[in-house]
């Protein structure tokens, strides 16, 4: 069977629906609506038209020769999801789910956000479709991503800082689920990554699969070959699964997911779920989880809010265990260095999340030859990260991290 055909509720032993009974009817309704929509030509045409005339798809490929020269091995090609409207890949999933929510008659969108990119994308879709939008964001993240909070508010969304637990993405998901349990009649929970209960992992993947579909055809068209390897950053794993999916059955294409290693995977401060976690249940799915001996979730750490998550999508857990994809850690320092490097060699400022994939790509490029090509998912732009970057590099007078 084709690896691309796996469509839940389980990916190997991972996935499922570990949620309160109160949510099951909503998940059943969503699954039925999604199954109907994905073969409905009207739905697909409407989404494709939105992507053409609103998102700005297809996103282009950009070769990055001066950046690749830093490694001195393989060529590096960037899939420019940073050029999408709202500045990241997140819009792909958001428009798909918002269209579905409208079909279901829901008038209120609930979202969680880490870096704020998914919250901004959801607030954007809510504005476009005239829906109410409430975004849960860990209090820690509202502070380190203040600009995105302002963007969401400007777009008309209500941003709720979450003060429970570690006050980051995982707690924002808990709070979003609590909201959804109470408001499921009128609300759709627009989950922003490939985690959570079925059908979210497969549905979110399918909405992001456009990235890999375009990229594979563009590689063949513009470079006359498939890439040697595909690289992406992995928090929950949505941009990675989006670019991986179309390549899953191309056995010669290596797939690399780069997790946030924070201070290093051998320190307590990282978010390297697949490298340092073990199977468990979190946020509705069986998957790898950073947890203590008792199964209490451990707080993750990363300079990148979008990768600061102690779980990972169940399909990644499955690809990890089967060996189809390789997951490696990239430290805060490596990522920030790659962020500056790409900015200075190519004039492209990537998001800190994306910079993990770029650092990882440089690492694997060194052992490759100039005939090899690494396709990197440039999942988001770095405007939102200027404050963090300025502090990190001491770019603002008198301030240095």
């Amino acid at each position: 069977m084709s690896l691309q055909d796996e469509s839940g509720p389980y990916f190997g032993e991972f996935g499922g629906r570990f949620v309160p009974e109160s949510l099951i009817a909503a998940l059943d309704e969503l699954e039925a609506a999604y199954m109907a929509a994905k073969t409905d030509p009207d739905f697909l045409a409407e989404l494709a038209e939105l992507h053409r005339s609103y998102t700005g798809r297809p996103s282009i490929l950009t070769e990055a020769p001066r950046f690749a020269a830093l490694a001195g091995g393989a060529r590096i090609v960037l899939k420019r999801e940073d050029l999408n409207h709202t500045g990241s890949h997140k819009i792909n999933n958001v428009l798909g789910q918002a269209l579905l929510a409208r079909r279901l008659g829901k008038t209120r969108l609930i979202a969680e956000t880490g870096a704020g990119q998914h919250g901004v994308a959801t607030a954007t879709a809510a504005a476009l479709f005239g829906m109410e939008c409430i975004v849960y964001m860990g209090q820690v993240d509202t502070e380190r991503q203040a600009l995105n909070v302002a963007r969401m508010k400007l777009l008309g969304a209500t941003v709720v800082p979450v003060t429970s637990g570690s006050r980051t993405l995982k707690d924002a998901i808990n709070e979003a689920m609590r909201d959804w349990v109470a408001t499921v009649d009128t609300s759709h929970y627009l989950l922003g990554t490939v985690a959570g209960p079925h059908p979210f992992p497969v549905m979110v993947r399918d909405f992001h699969a456009v990235i890999g579909h375009e990229a594979r055809a563009q590689m063949l068209d513009q470079f006359g070959t498939l890439p040697t390897a595909v690289a992406a950053c992995v928090g929950g794993g949505s941009n990675a699964i989006g670019i991986f999916h179309r390549f899953l059955d191309d056995a010669d294409v290596a797939l690399y997911g780069f997790e946030a290693a924070g201070d290093g995977i051998d320190t307590p401060k990282h978010a390297a779920t697949l490298e340092r976690g073990r199977p468990g249940v979190l946020h509705g799915a069986k998957t790898y989880v950073l947890q203590d001996d008792d199964g209490q979730t451990i707080e993750s750490h990363s300079i990148s809010a979008g990768l600061d998550y102690p779980g990972v999508g169940p399909e990644h857990a499955w690809l990890n265990d089967s060996g189809r994809a390789t997951y490696l850690g990239v430290t805060d320092h490596e990522a920030m260095t790659a962020l500056r490097d790409l900015s200075r060699t190519e004039g492209i400022i990537p998001a800190i999340e994306t910079a993990h994939a770029l650092a990882g790509a440089l690492r694997i490029a060194r052992d490759m030859s100039p005939t090899d090509i690494i396709l990197v998912n440039l999942s988001g732009r770095g405007d939102k990260d200027m404050e963090t970057a300025a502090a990190y590099f001491g770019l603002i007078e008198g301030k240095h991290a």
Partner: protein
């Protein structure tokens, strides 16, 4: 193979009243203090105890229980201590002790090993808020092997088929979720509660307890007019928070007055 929880509910019914199922978090604020709190609740007339295992990501719980959970974990609570608590509070009483737990701590302990150790400590069964029967085959096998109750939830949004599945999969009682929401006090227990219980009866349920949002003797009176028991959590946890074992004992005594016992 018999359910001590069903026996406790039947005993209350034979006395012409409903049953009070009292929730308290294990290890809150400390292991010893939680033992004292549970003993006070038993001494003041609770029929069934529901001991919650503190968990880092309690998606069904509102602020009161979340706060207690955080405190218990900060005070060093370990999952295996729940067995010590069960052992301590079940001595000298026939009030059955259920444990309410999110699923990951059980998965990490080992499902069968958890069931074995829990049964050996004198526990009666598990309430599993984020484990639906569809995902529970391993737990159901372990519960049967160790003669434990397995209590699944039914919600206002559950289809007739899922109501039937909850009834068929549960032993002890079916937990009827009174309202679409999380734990915490509410002014009104949703009219939906009555309808959930009616659907569960249609599906063949003999024992149903209603939980979520119940905090006053009047609400308890109302609920036990159509269900075997009323489950009270946040209200009792708030009593522990404000005044420890003494306060939660008093709060229990007030709720028991709502059960219809003379």
């Amino acid at each position: 193979m018999s359910s001590r929880v069903e026996a406790a509910l039947d005993r209350a019914r034979a006395e012409g009243r409903g049953a009070l199922v009292a929730y308290l978090p294990a290890g809150y604020p400390t292991v010893d203090a939680s033992i004292e709190a549970v003993k006070a609740v038993i001494a003041n007339g609770a029929d069934v105890i529901e001991l919650g295992i503190p968990y880092s990501d309690p998606v069904m719980d509102g602020p009161v229980i979340q706060r207690a959970t955080v405190t218990a974990l900060e005070n060093g609570f370990r999952v295996a201590q729940v067995f010590d608590i069960v052992r301590a509070v079940s001595q000298g009483t026939d009030v059955p002790i259920l444990v309410m737990t999110y699923w990951n701590p059980v998965v990490q302990y080992g499902i069968d090993r958890f069931a074995a150790d829990f049964a050996a400590a004198g526990g009666a069964g598990l309430i599993t808020p984020d484990l639906i029967p569809d995902e529970a085959s391993e737990w159901i096998r372990a519960a049967d092997a160790h003669d434990l109750d397995r209590i699944f939830l039914a919600a206002p949004s559950s289809s007739p088929e899922r109501m039937k599945q909850a009834v068929d999969s549960s032993r002890g009682f079916v937990y009827a979720v009174s309202t679409m929401g999380i734990t915490g006090q509410r002014g009104d227990v949703d009219a939906a509660a009555r309808s959930v219980v009616a659907s569960l009866r249609t599906a063949g349920a003999e024992h149903v307890c209603v939980g979520i949002g119940i905090s006053t003797p009047d609400q308890v009176t109302d609920v036990v007019s159509y269900a075997e028991g009323a489950i009270v959590g946040s209200h009792l946890v708030a009593a522990v928070e404000s005044g420890g074992a003494h306060a939660v004992g008093q709060a229990t005594a007030l709720l028991v007055r709502g059960l219809g016992r003379a």
